[in-house]
């Protein structure tokens, strides 16, 4: 009986949140890893790209709510999502045209492009704060829970409750659909294969007649789609604040590196590795141990390895460890 209770506590506080958070990180890391693979630089502006797309989604959500549109029990933000994607695609293509293209033509080294992306970060961040303000925005409407903790206890009779939020399940379902679509595109379509070829061997791809500018454009479009969806899901699940997305860069990059830079499968696996690590290293296991261990051994302290403030320290440590011992990551990506 008590093992079961321990499992329910673990599920409620670690497994379910980590799956949701891991899906969001995975989608973000996918965008990062695609840019590394095809455009060959680490895009530090990815967080702001997510924020920009999410911002457009929020603005359109406000518009739709004012117009009275609703798709209860799903959040209205899902209706606004396509518009956010279009807006994000626009800004990303514009940024490429006015910033990255110049350095690409000049055959600049990757580190120059990274610095350029830092500049883009600052400008985009300022733009977002200018448009929507620096404060918190909660834009999740619709039903909140699929199953509430209290209801779970009533239904099952257990002492511990398991709550699953609507936003968490949307995150998982959306992530699965998006990843499946992305893999289908990369592996089954001619354009997708040409992107993989261009990422594999640029000179040979050019010799084969693959148009580099087209590959670049399609990559940015896919990145914008992934970023907007990831940002919106994260914002629905938690909250939207312009600075949060910059902080998400660290776990997302850690996820991409752990999985192997340039490997889409790696980005997904890495996302979950980082999410599960962050949450399980900073959780207070007092209740779990109370259930598992005999009564005499029940812990008096919180049994928390690190306080939740140290979540980013966990992803940072994992990143450093991977770079030290296996820089190519789990799925043998590039070791940049």
């Amino acid at each position: 009986m008590d093992i079961l209770h321990a499992l329910i506590v673990l599920a409620n506080f670690i497994i379910v949140p980590a799956i949701a958070y891991g899906s969001q990180l995975a989608l973000g890391a996918l965008g990062i890893t695609l840019v590394v693979g095809v455009l060959r630089f680490s895009n530090f502006a990815h967080g702001e790209t997510m924020a920009f797309g999410t911002m457009i989604v929020i603005l359109m959500t406000w518009l739709f709510t004012a117009m009275g549109l609703s798709i209860y029990p799903l959040p209205t933000a899902l209706l606004a999502l396509p518009f956010g994607i279009i807006g994000c695609i626009a800004i990303v293509l514009l940024t490429d045209k006015f910033v990255y293209k110049f350095y690409r033509k000049a055959k600049s080294t990757p580190v120059v492009l990274v610095m350029a992306s830092l500049g883009v970060t600052f400008i985009m961040n300022g733009l977002i704060r200018f448009i929507i303000g620096p404060g918190d925005q909660r834009f999740a409407d619709g039903a909140r829970f699929i199953i509430k903790a209290r209801d779970f206890k009533t239904i099952t009779g257990f002492k511990e409750g398991l709550a699953i939020k609507v936003t968490q399940s949307i995150t998982l379902v959306t992530a699965i659909i998006v990843v499946a679509a992305l893999f289908w595109f990369l592996n089954k379509t001619r354009t997708g294969k040409s992107m993989r070829a261009y990422s594999d061997n640029e000179d040979l791809a050019l010799l084969s007649g693959i148009n580099p500018e087209r590959v670049v454009m399609i990559t940015w479009i896919i990145v914008a789609i992934l970023a907007t969806i990831a940002g919106t899901l994260y914002g629905l699940d938690k909250t939207f604040k312009p600075f949060t997305y910059f902080q998400l860069l660290l776990p997302m990059f850690a996820a991409a590196v752990v999985g192997g830079l340039g490997s889409p499968v790696g980005a997904i696996v890495g996302g979950f590795v980082i999410a599960f690590s962050e949450i399980s290293f900073t959780y207070a296991y007092k209740k779990v141990f109370t259930y598992i261990l005999p009564t005499d051994w029940a812990p008096t302290s919180l049994v928390q390895l690190l306080s939740t403030d140290y979540k980013f320290a966990v992803s940072f440590s994992i990143l450093v460890l991977v770079l030290l011992f296996r820089p190519t990551g789990l799925f043998k990506g590039q070791s940049t």
Binding site: R190, K193, D200, L204, L207, S208
Partner: protein, 238 residues
Amino acid sequence: MNENPFLIGEAMTGGYGTGADILHDCTVAVNKGEIAVIVGPNGAGKSTAMKAIFGMLTMRSGQVSIDGEDITNLSPQDRVAKGMAFVPQNQNIFTSLSVEENLEMGAFLREDDISETMNQVFDLFPILKERRRQAAGELSGGQRQQVAVGRALMTQPKVLMLDEPTAGVSPIVMDELFDRIIDVAKTGISILMVEQNARQALEIADKGYVLVQGENRFTDTGSNLLSDPEVRKSFLGG
């Protein structure tokens, strides 16, 4: 020398970028359906001559024509469209793509149905058909060369240019590769080849060009070069 060669790079002089000239008034040509081989000591400019014909070089003087058409000012991609296929010495396959995907990428510019060409490639290189779904990077050296050549053949070229196709390949595989090259030539595709294994290459060559320091030193049929005592002493080890 050649009456109406199919592909000719004539009196080429040039080098890489703004650097010194590597080629000096060098001429290389191949007739339709024949095999022409460029041999010479290391640093003679063999690969450079072929790259010049493909348009990857800054050519200060000279001209290149295919089937009578002057292509001197075309980019490499445009020359592919004219019927030239180039197999570089290194990094000539997409290692993370499967064998079949490599062939598909070879035919990227084609709009029509490529399955027949792919079957022809598989007939020529049966081992590729066996491993069509395997990642190309997992194959052995000789098999990778087959993928590289197969990839080039997917464009249905008129001229196939090979840069040291037997580099780093065992002697048995080298014989097989040369047999395949002869098979390809029999289908009417002209072959221009740079080779380090001079003796074996000249054995299958209709025309041989010995380059030394970027200049033509000897030009003759393959068998004549093989039996020429001076050529044998200098380049073929007697």
